[in-house]
Symmetry: C2
Subunit: 393 residues, 2 copies
């Protein structure tokens, strides 16, 4: 059998393994230590009551002959959910047609699978630092990768570079891991660049629910010209705490086509209907409930809870004079390790001196070294305790 | 942007579209016609009460802080479910380790995605007639396809041919669309062949729940030697009526490796954890409930319901002297169109003279022409009415 050799070019995913090992070793030596985990990228608030009620109702329907549902026939999501998603965009003045929305089990799946639409030699522009899955999915399928630097100078929001022209451009805003969010004006530069060079922007909007700045975009489709150059991948993982429920969607505008005029939307629909059989009916009803007025209000309470944590951490770092990014439009805070420490040295300091676990920035790419990511997904109590420890001399 | 040109080599999936058009046209001209659909490949019985109860309980847990679950950490399925699946194999004397089981949202996803483990020039052996997704997924990624004939002479159960050696071998047993099921002895021939040539068998066991013959295998892992040459993809879609719930699994034995000794299990785990974020917790609890004694008994009642339909259809065709395959170990009945009619001509006859909708065999490949597929997924009442119409002169 001939295996895909690209799999053997993958770097081992050691980051979270090494963190677990170091924390485990410290706990072994200090069993009484009260360790606060601010490295976690997962939500902790329970699902909104409206969502739970919708799931239970849908589960009951599945147990009755008259209301049982089998395959989601067209495989792209029930119309009731695609209409709810289109309505969510419409509320903020962004027009997306239901036929352009393809429902899935989450952004991670779609971000990986959408690469199948492109030729193997289509190159990808990936920012550094970055969510590691962008890199791994490209390595797995042999796509050439070109990196663009996020750094202190550009506020971790790199802008187009005429020397770095690729077929595919990854943009995650608000960003994981840096928490930085592009303004509409900055995204306009990317859209113009992509249209000029025939590139496709893969816009990862998984954190749009955290946007608070009026000038920051929540969707690439707020930007004029985006419908001929962009695909948006979005998720309910953070907006509604669906990390354990699994629902997301991808928007491929009808106008998006290659230079020969071949549209991408039918290709994506064909990919999904051939290699995927749709999302659970129960999950689709749960997702629909997120977009009800009651559901959205409940989900926003959870977001506000995390935002309060982010604000406290940001204020605390400010008092300490530690330079940091994110936090305002994002659950992530990306801090510059003080005293010129590298990522792992500062990680060790926080673990051993403050009993706080962060995520070393080096795990997100070369440019992440010297940085550390904190998240706001802990409880208020744990976050307040962490802030007090950071401030204590 | 450079698109994947292989997408443009796909045949348009016209089969079910054309059926819908022909049925629609007939209904338009004959609005009073009482049409019975025996073409449907989807289940119709509601979920087992034990499954619904498990889903509702899990949904409630997700709404409470203390029992909320986020990401399924290792992304391969909760241990409780993998243990339940291993137990399901163990009940029939087949040993599968929990570490070899990777839980997914269904067999269709896994059958498509697992191809990523193989080099682009790895060739696939695909039987004709066949479930069309096998062909389409290989075309999409540019794998060379070699066909092997299923036909009346071999009972639609082709055996290895030394002239048809490939990297990957597709076997679906009990088969969709023909309903034919390999005996253990026949599968032994395939396993020996695969081991001799370093091929990998992709064994689609989605219909194992329908097996009644003692000589027919329900898993490729019942066959000695299979652990060095086979991957099994299975699903709860038919066993438990999960077509609208979405759960399945793939078993990759630890021993399965290429000639350089590189194991496939870690590659599959890496693929899934990079491009997939696990299955809904609620769905995993539902799947666990399938394998409880109560859940299995309830699911088997539904299977018996469909089997009764299959038996009636088979007996009816027997009385009419119409040659057919399947039906005993499968929800599908694959009949030879009488009087030398081609698939679409007999489809038309059934639609117009009997008001019964089947699926023309030609839609499953060249060798399917002259055949038609009936399914047992209708109600008893509809199936009995269809049988009476077939018998009426």
């Amino acid at each position: 059998m001939k295996l895909n050799e690209h799999f053997f070019e993958l770097k081992s995913s050691y980051l979270f393994k090494r963190i677990a090992q170091e924390v485990g070793a410290y706990k072994g030596a200090n069993p009484g230590a009260d360790i606060i985990r601010l490295g976690i990228g997962d939500v902790t608030r329970p699902l909104a009551p409206a969502v739970v009620a919708a799931m239970q109702k849908a589960a009951a329907e599945m147990g009755v002959k008259e209301t049982f549902r089998g395959y989601d026939d067209d495989g792209v999501g029930y119309l009731f959910l695609r209409e709810a998603i289109a309505g969510y965009y419409a509320q903020r003045g962004t027009a997306v047609d239901v036929s352009e929305i393809v429902v899935s089990d989450g952004a991670k799946s779609d971000l990986g699978n959408i690469l199948e639409l492109f030729a193997t030699d289509a190159a990808a522009l990936i920012p550094d630092p970055v969510y590691p899955a962008y890199v791994d999915t490209n390595v797995m399928s042999g796509h050439p990768i070109v990196y663009i630097s996020g750094n202190e100078e550009n506020g971790f929001l790199p802008l187009p570079d005429e020397n770095l022209v690729t077929d595919v451009i990854y943009i995650c805003s608000p960003n994981n891991p840096t928490g930085a969010a592009y303004s509409r004006e900055q995204l306009r530069a990317w859209v113009d660049f992509a249209n000029a060079h025939g590139s496709v922007i893969l816009f990862d909007a998984a954190y749009e629910g955290f946007v608070r700045d009026e000038t920051a975009a929540r969707s690439i489709f707020e930007i004029p010209g985006s419908r001929t150059c962009a695909i948006e991948v979005c998720s309910l993982s953070k907006l509604a705490g669906f990390t354990g429920v699994r629902a997301g969607w991808t928007v491929v505008p009808k106008e998006l086509a290659d230079s020969a005029g071949r549209a991408l939307l039918p290709l994506w629909v064909r990919r999904q209907t051939t290699k995927f059989n749709g999302v659970s009916y129960v999950t689709q009803r749960a997702a629909e409930a997120v977009f009800s007025p009651e559901g959205l209000a409940q989900c926003r309470e959870n977001l506000a809870y995390y935002q309060q944590n982010a604000q406290l951490l940001s204020e605390t770092l400010g008092k300490l004079g530690i330079k940091h990014f994110g936090g305002k439009n994002s659950p992530y805070i990306w801090l510059k390790c003080p005293n010129g420490l590298d990522s792992w040295a500062y990680f060790d300091y926080l673990l051993k001196e403050k009993n706080i676990v962060g995520t070393p920035g080096e795990g997100f790419g070369k440019n992440g070294d010297g940085y550390l990511r904190l998240t706001s997904f802990g409880t208020h109590e744990a976050t307040e305790k962490a802030a007090a420890r950071l401030l204590a001399q």
